[in-house]
Amino acid sequence: MSVCLVIFLIAIALMFVTGFYCLIMTRNLIRILIALEILTKAATLLLITAGYISGKMATAQAFAITLIIVEVVVIAIAAGIVLGAYRHNETLDTRKLNNLKG
């Protein structure tokens, strides 16, 4: 099973790198949200893998469920804010969002 765990850890690293790279390189607001989602998925998988390694899966699941709920609320509110910004500025490009006037 240790080989599988190594594969899971590599998958976690890949997801983390993908999310982080997308987060710092993209300028589209929806893509930034998708990157955030990938990063939280990596964190969820890391929690579950840590629970499996330490033998405390119940605690890991409790943390993972809490993380999923936080993730959903953050994404829902952020999507609403992104839509508001799009209606106000007619663009999703972060370079063009330089207006703080209501």
Partner: protein
């Protein structure tokens, strides 16, 4: 980082589904069900709704953006090599992956942990959900007023 946002959202849903299978394999069925229903279902719907409310890029814009995107991928291999080297070093020194601890008799069930040992987590989740509901309500209320 796909050129089409809709494809990105659908790929994210597939990633969630694969993560669900991995969670089942690792023995976390309840978290897996949450992941499948909430992340693969609800969040994908939120993303697709948001994408459908925005204007898609034209073909000319796509061509220009594709050139910019290629430049952005230059640093990715270096970052990958760095992260894998750091992870390999850390795993070699600190984590012994060969000895996975089996859950013993003292290991509690999820119900006990969630409802008895970590009650504050439940309270926090309720507060977070209410915050989300009020946040969405305020956003839509503002739009209606305009």
């Amino acid at each position: 980082m796909a050129s089409n946002l809709l494809k990105s959202a659908i790929a994210l849903a597939f990633a969630s589904a694969i993560l669900t299978v991995v969670m089942f394999m690792l023995g976390a069925p309840l978290a897996a069900v949450f992941e499948l229903s909430v992340c693969a279902g609800l969040i994908t719907v939120v993303f697709i709704s948001a994408i459908s409310m925005t204007r898609p890029r034209t073909k000319e814009e796509n061509i220009v953006k594709a050139r910019e995107r290629r430049k952005r991928f230059i640093y990715l291999p270096f970052l990958l090599v760095f992260v894998f080297a750091a992870l390999t070093l850390a795993a070699w020194k600190s984590v012994d992956l060969g000895t996975v601890l089996k859950p013993g008799l003292s290991e509690l069930k999820l119900q006990d942990v969630l409802w008895n040992r970590r009650q504050l987590d439940i309270l926090g989740q309720i507060i977070i959900i209410l915050t989300g509901v009020f946040g969405i309500a305020v956003l839509f209320k503002e739009r209606e007023a305009k």
